[in-house]
Amino acid sequence: MFEKIFTSTGRKLDVNKDNPTSLLLAEACGDLVQNRLLKFATRPPMLIVEAVGLIAGLFMAPLVVFKLLIGALASYGLLVGAYLFWYGRFIHRNRIYRPLCPHCTSRMWQFCCKRCHEPVPALAFWLWGAFLTHCPHCGFRLSCRLGTLLASCSTCASDFERPDLLYGKPTHVVVWIAETLPAQIGGGWIPIKPHGAQEMALYHHGDEHSASFLFISTDDHSKPTPVDEHLIGQTRLLLISNKLPETTANRIKAFFTHRTLREEIAFDSNGELRRES
């Protein structure tokens, strides 16, 4: 069973392992100009009208024009500042939670529109889209709750509903080195790609506290690392079958950091999982 939790164009690019960087001032200003009022006010014909109005206003009531100008600039400046500060917090949390694409395991922090699948600035996510509620490309109304604002992977162009949930909780990686692959896995685990003879990749997004990847693999000497290299640092739990030889277990354990919890497990006669250490 391959439950559809995301859509993908299936494009092939190198996995993105980098963390997001902070927004530049010009980018923040550019994002805010997508707001309907600002977009309207910055159109060339409107700029001419505004310039004429400003000059006329300066001669007729300079103080009123001055206050309007300062008020508009102050509100825009404050919005840019607050947006920059929020985005700094957003990427700080993203660096801690490290959400991964459920399709290609790339690092994820972007957004896209459900209708046109074009990238949407994070402004649409800030304050529930208070200052950007429409897609700048197709005009579609964006909302996390309605499922029209999606989390998007820049590597494989997969998108994922409810970005607030995906980006709002940590993503953990569990690696299970088994003797043989299990025939079926229940409990909300979804295969993220058709599994091979020696490995299986599953994703679980139902938990409100964290999302998890489970990579089940038999000991394959042909692979240099038990899982992809960028996932090693993010592995929280390493499960090793106690039937594997000790030297093999030690070799696998050596790949992981001291922060990875390592357990030796076995299945009892009822098929239940049992810890050995």
Binding site: T21, S22, L23, L24, L25, A28, N35, R36, L37, L38, F40, L58, F59, P62, L63, F66, K67, L68, L69, I70, G71, A72, L73, A74, S75, Y76, G77, L78, L79, V80, G81, L84, F85, G88, H92, R115, G129, A130, F131, L132, T133, H134, C138, G139, F140, R141, T148
Partner: protein, 313 residues
């Protein structure tokens, strides 16, 4: 202790050389000691601006009178000179910075030398109240003057202190990247303030006054301003000695006390209306109205969006 007294206290502190210099040394030392430097470097800019605010008093901008918070043109010709110079520099920066134009200076340097040095040199001969050899360094000193015109304005000190507090918080929470962007915003806001101050001097260009009247006007609009009394008072009183001190360069005999000069009077009128009790409150209300407008117009479901919603359903 209310907000106004805190502000007065901060203002008094900011006017003292020992405080400004000491704070700068302290922040530089802090920046050298704490690692990584990117966490603390954001604090440098507002403190450096605080220092430059005092230092800017000694940057001569010909044809202007200035305090720590204001630059006011008293000569129309000088205003036009700086307007043209700013336009030229803006075009050059735009050409180099945004278009990534590359120039071979040994081959194509002469037109640029003419544009950036000889042009302003001739301009200073025509427009600026400067005498003799002083014209030779006017193109260079005017470049510094442009920075002063853009940076020194009434929102400089409030922005500096807001910047210092914001950067202190960002340093505390180790947000180096946000601190850099916040500093860019600070500089951009200062530039906007400078442009507004500069732009508003276009009004009432035909107003005329004598040097004595300028002095009286300044002392009327800034009765409690220590800097104005000390600096501008001295400036007006010692017109003949100014060329020696280099604080403000003016031709000794060009504008004697009794002669009529064109003066821009709107700036004090506008800025002085922005007192905490009156216009500032109105500007805050106007800002709030803009916030609501930004939000409200975004929330309204427009015709094309309704069609798209139906398409989705």
């Amino acid at each position: 202790m209310n907000l106004e007294s805190i502000w007065t206290w901060l203002r008094t502190l900011s006017d003292r050389w020992e405080f400004v210099g000491g704070l700068l040394v302290l922040v530089v030392l802090f920046n050298r000691i704490v690692r990584p430097q990117s966490y603390t470097s954001g604090l440098l800019l507002p403190v450096l601006l605080l220092f430059m605010r005092k230092l800017a008093l000694y940057v001569p901008v010909s044809g202007t009178i200035s305090t720590v918070d204001r630059v006011m043109f008293w000569l129309v010709d000088a205003y036009i000179y700086f307007f043209i110079l700013m336009t030229i520099y803006a075009l050059v920066i735009w050409g180099f910075g945004f278009r990534k134009t590359k120039i071979d200076w040994t081959e194509e340097g002469w037109p640029w030398f003419l544009l950036l040095y000889v042009g302003p040199l001739i301009g200073s001969g025509i427009c600026l109240p400067v005498d003799g050899w002083s014209h030779l360094y006017m193109p260079v000193i005017s470049l510094l003057g442009i920075f002063k015109i853009l940076l020194v304005n009434p929102i400089l000190l409030p922005l500096i202190w807001m910047g210092i507090f914001a950067q202190a918080l960002l340093t505390l929470f180790a947000r180096g990247a946000s601190a850099r962007e916040m500093n860019k915003l600070l500089l951009a806001s200062l530039m906007i303030g400078g442009f507004v101050q500069f732009g508003f001097q276009i009004i009432n260009f035909t107003q005329s006054a004598t040097i004595s009247e300028i002095r009286e006007r300044w002392q009327t609009v800034n009765p409690g301003d220590k800097e104005t009394k000390d600096f501008l008072g001295v400036w007006v009183e010692r017109l003949p000695q100014l060329q020696k001190s280099g604080v403000n360069i003016i031709e000794k005999s060009a504008y004697p006390e009794g002669e009529m000069v064109k003066i821009v009077k709107t700036i004090p009128d506008v800025w002085d209306n922005l007192q905490p009790g009156g216009a500032v409150r109105q500007i805050i209300i106007i800002s709030m109205i803009f916030f609501v407008l930004f939000w409200l117009i975004e929330r309204i479901q427009w015709g094309d969006e309704r069609d798209l919603s139906r398409e989705r359903d």
